[in-house]
Point group: C2
Chain length 108, copies 2
Amino acid sequence: MRRDVFQAIADPTRRAIILLIAAQAMTPNAIAAHFDMTRQAVSKHLQILAECDLVTPAQSGREIIYELNGTKMGEVDKWLEQFRKIWEDRFNELDKVLLTIKKQRHEN
Amino acid sequence: MRRDVFQAIADPTRRAIILLIAAQAMTPNAIAAHFDMTRQAVSKHLQILAECDLVTPAQSGREIIYELNGTKMGEVDKWLEQFRKIWEDRFNELDKVLLTIKKQRHEN
DNA sequence: AATATAAGCAACTGATCGGTTGCGCAAAAT
DNA sequence: ATTTTGCGCAACCGATCAGTTGCTTATATT
């Protein structure tokens, strides 16, 4: 059971769920309605997301509302930080040739 | 064959490889020396990383030097961008109670 | 020319994954 | 009080995965 954030966001369905409840916290049934798959399947994904604290369940009567824990996403961001410098430097190297392309990137 | 960047960085070994060649471009054999696994296993990982352009092979005689394509990591960063606002807002909501914690976070 | 080395490719294997169906339980609705 | 609804849990299944061994090819070395 290696449940880290990276493995959690690897699945496209899981990413879609995250995006969905980012806008609005939801019950498993409500989430499942957005996908072509069983509630149980969605529940499994939610369980995985909950295991690594990407999502927090809040019981309300017989319903369980899952909401996004946005903070946890920072872990991925932190890992990415290591490379941010590299891909910035890479741009600096190609200064002359890619200067125009760089400009375009900043324009949109 | 769903070879997206997210699936690529899901594997811990793959992340380690990325980190390794980020510092220094390497041949499969050189990379394999850093892990407790066969060269072929590493080669498979490299193939996956290459398939989604996270890594670029450069033939040099009979050797193939794999180097990191840092730019590609931006795709993950772009996806993360959607949530950056959320996890910043979350902090603003909890203003009073978490102010001290926020301070601690900024101190280290 | 013979040998050693670097690497990709193919076939196989056990483990994990994403999904299903079927069940039991507790909260709402009737 | 009975039924419906929302949910988690468990067992099962086919597909994919991470790793292995064995082979071939091509470039260096001797």
